[in-house]
Symmetry: C3
Subunit: 175 residues, 3 copies
């Protein structure tokens, strides 16, 4: 006869503990992604500062056009990158997604610097970091596929998948 | 005398099960949105490939300008679309949001192809997919309104709202 | 002998209540961010309408170029702003993040209107709202730092941090 009230109290208590656990769990599962996002924002600010400084000088028209074009190409693919990285991090695991994000940021930095320094006849192409984005898209697909497998067949391959993607993300380092 | 340890064990056990339930719940409530995001990313890659191919040919200046302009207009509204779709999916229900996202992607594909093929005096306008975005914004507003109603009045209209939006999303198919 | 089934029933019951609690918790912790995102989307639509109207008139070339440039500068920094605001809101607290977002939107509106109205020799710079973005980045860093402190040292400074950021966000009003 004492069990039901204790149980209902337990439910209340657990609902509250769930909420506080959940919040720290949310931060726990995204903090690497947030850090990479912050780094990318600082890189954006660096690019924008470069554009603004070139725009103020007014004496070098081609240099301004080149840095502005490099900045625009980087900014065009920025939302795509953010969306893919966050989806991959949420669906499967944040560590390889954040690692791939760092690789992408390094590739973007190289692209921007290469764009600024080169003459116009040998500018780098419009696209960059294709391999990293393809890897992140693959991670998303694997994560969703895994979720559907678990839902309809009840077997959880997530641990295996995470191990494989952790290993595969090291392959991105090979140039 | 046995109850407290079992209870505290149950709390621990539930905290862990909560975390694992929560993660699959997170994926469960966003996987349609993730799929639509992936499709939009692949479409972005298709657009960017078109721009890169036109840029490499160098013999057709107006064709490059047109495809570049179409790509830029699409990219300009891309973050807006992503933000609205995810907000609508998180606040109310993912199914109609993902459906509206698919409709938007089809409209964008039509816009891009139409922009490339047409002569300059009859280019399509700067905006496209206004109806879909308006529908998604409406979904966000309904979701937040519903949350505030539940919080301050305690009556849950979410089921009714979801049914209505599910029905309304079918109306988007009418051209 | 009755305890195990009741317990397992309680687990099931709590798993369901957790899911429903979690969903309303998710909306509870992001609804201010969603509202600010919606306002920013409406502002984007306002900018795009301005660009489209100027583009249709065709008689004022410099006005179109200026409004198009202002729109592009605003759109370039839009994903950065969204990413930083959501990260700050998720990591620490949504109220100061949403407040800083509103301040940013006001700064953007001023920038756009100022860009349209001014003559070309005194256009405002490429960047705007730097202080707000710096504040949001700081909030992200504080939130992650706080999470790492809690994880490795077990002391929770989150309440203190939230109070400080709530107070600091009022400082943004000083022009």
């Amino acid at each position: 006869r004492v069990a039901p009230p204790r149980n209902s109290y337990g439910v209340l208590c657990l609902a509250f503990s769930t909420i506080s656990v959940m919040l720290s769990v949310v931060v726990e599962h995204i903090f690497l992604l947030v850090i990479v996002t912050l780094i990318s924002v600082l890189q954006n600010a660096f690019f924008a500062t470069k554009v603004e400084r070139e725009g103020k000088e007014h004496n070098n028209k081609t240099a301004f056009e080149r840095v502005s074009c490099a900045n625009r190409n980087c900014m065009d693919s920025y939302p795509t990158f953010l969306a893919v990285m966050w989806c991959a991090g949420l669906c499967l695991n944040q560590a390889p997604a954040a690692f791939a994000g760092i690789i992408y940021l390094v590739a973007r930095q190289k692209y921007f610097v290469g764009y600024m320094g080169q003459t116009s006849q040998s500018t780098p192409g419009y696209l960059f970091g294709k391999r990293v984005l393809a890897f992140l898209i693959l991670m998303c697909i694997v994560g969703i596929f895994n979720y559907l497998l678990v839902r309809y067949f009840g077997s959880d391959y997530k641990d295996t998948m995470e191990m494989i993607t952790n290993a595969a993300s090291a392959l991105l380092l090979i140039p």
